[in-house]
């Protein structure tokens, strides 16, 4: 398995993701500059967090038109795996690879803290092997994280088991207080209908190194390593 991390002007979590996949998960990993048009034979693409193009116009709106994204969209349409984290999630929704969009947090504030999330989908690669009875502590850092989609889309997400995670409290309770950014149904991550594209607002790569005293992020990333190369 070869992992590729896209890098846009303003990406700032690319190095963290690279470090985790290379040094902790011991994977073959390369960075893909946004002006490139080839995925260099990567099997799994990760679109990392940050502020691509300064979040101008809308978060992710401009990055979506970078040359590398044509290759990412083609890869996803062929059934290839893609994970977008935070700004990467925003880019994937703008690119139409994931349903819905991410609005300004209901508090109007940038929120940077440890969030608790609960896996929902039992059929997606990322969450299927997780314990649905426990919650995972994963950092969030975003201003535009309020997941929104039309009523019909939300129903589709539910009908097809496409909700990856919901925000909860430290005891795993899904409450309005734990839904700090105001997302519909406390949604923290979704997948597409084919379940090969994942989007997460929380940052699992920030919870993998033991030095950080929280390695819950590994639970989210390790299932991805079990993929057979296509």
């Amino acid at each position: 398995m070869k992992f590729g991390i896209t890098v846009f002007p303003g990406s700032n979590c690319d190095e963290d993701v690279f470090y985790v996949f290379q040094n902790i998960l011991k994977q073959d990993v390369v960075k893909l500059w946004h002006k490139e048009t080839s995925l260099q034979g990567c099997d799994f693409i990760i679109v990392p967090g940050g502020f691509s193009y300064g979040d101008y116009l809308r978060s992710g709106a401009i990055a979506r038109f970078s040359p590398i994204m044509d290759a990412v969209v083609e890869h996803a349409n062929r059934g290839g795996y893609v994970l977008g984290i935070c700004n990467g999630f925003q880019i994937l929704t703008e690119a139409g690879l994931l349903p819905g969009t991410l609005l300004r947090n209901i508090s109007q504030k940038f929120v940077c803290k440890n969030a608790y999330i609960k896996p929902v989908s039992t059929s997606a690669l990322m969450t299927a092997s997780l314990d649905s009875q426990r919650c995972y502590k994963i950092p969030v850092a975003h201003a535009d994280g309020r997941y929104y989609a039309s009523e019909d889309t939300i129903k589709e997400l539910q009908d097809h088991d496409q909700i990856l995670f919901q925000y909860c409290d430290a005891n795993g309770q899904i409450l309005s207080e734990s839904n700090f950014n105001g997302s519909l149904l406390s949604i923290a991550g979704v997948t597409n209908r084919q379940k090969n594209v994942f989007g997460l607002m929380p940052h699992p790569e920030r919870a993998c190194d033991e030095a950080l005293e929280n390695t819950d992020g590994r639970y989210l990333l390790e299932p991805l390593l079990s993929l057979q190369t296509v």
């Binding site: 809308r58 709106a61 609005l103 300004r104 209901i106 109007q108 929104y148 039309s150 105001g182």
Partner: protein, 84 residues
Amino acid sequence: MMYLAKINIMPKKEILDPQGKAVKLGLGNLGLRNIEDVRIGKHITMQVQAATYEEASEEVELACQKLLANLIMESYDFEIEEVK
């Protein structure tokens, strides 16, 4: 011919606009209590080189749909005038 497009992009009606809500609060604090339903969007102007008004209009329409607005959360309208 050169045309000037003036584009308004607004959050859709059904979407909560917390920025607009906060501004309404501020207006109330100013003593302006008759103001309701404040919503905040974007105004974009651009010049378009086109042979006809229709051609310019098509170009702007495409710009709005493909990049300037996200139709899940925003609606848009625009007017176009000839630059003399």
